[in-house]
Symmetry: C2
Subunit: 109 residues, 2 copies
Amino acid sequence: MEEREYTPKQEQLARFAKAMGHPARVAILDFLIRQNSCFFGDIHEVLPISKATVSQHLKELKDAGLIQGEIEAPKVKYCINRANWEVASLLFKEFWGQEAPREKKDCCE
Amino acid sequence: MEEREYTPKQEQLARFAKAMGHPARVAILDFLIRQNSCFFGDIHEVLPISKATVSQHLKELKDAGLIQGEIEAPKVKYCINRANWEVASLLFKEFWGQEAPREKKDCCE
DNA sequence: TTTGTTGTTCGCAAAACTACGAATAAATAA
DNA sequence: TTATTTATTCGTAGTTTTGCGAACAACAAA
């Protein structure tokens, strides 16, 4: 039987990448990286989508571990999950730091 | 009317991230980064999915611009699209190079 | 208690994704 | 010409994603 499974690293990287796979979620992360005041309303205000949809995207980012939320009644405050952010950062840096293979005359030339 | 659109950078980053959003596609990229001989069959051989599905994932990576294919009858050779790889690399490095905001006592503590 | 503010959840619909086997296409080898 | 090899495309099925309005829940303010 061959080696035909995905590695945990590949799975994890794919999970983070998937979370970044929508412009609204990239925009949310961009926003949270720069802001300290990060209430739901502030986030919703800068996005071209409804409350319900924003809430869903936030849930996905939370499920992926990239952000966390906390109630501060009657508002909800979101922010980057630093520990996981670091994990993701390292994975992406490692992946994109790799050199694409040198061109050889027999490789797609 | 407020500023409520996604930036081209956010859209592009999301597009690349989405392409990386499945472990099979991460595995394919991992493979292509290391190999020069990169025929369809070689790729299929290391993945736990059918030919048809591999072909679909390759198409998505091609559509995202991260790889390219070329016929070398009766085989097909795939490899990294260097120009776009560089674009993606810069985008991801810029994104993940950002410092998450310093903790303050009023931000999710 | 009643009212208002803030977000989440529900219910729904359309579209996209993932996966496979079978059929097909394209070129070589016999 | 007739296989054979190699990979894509087709057809199908089930799942997930994206999006919204409406209903709901939780708490603060009046």
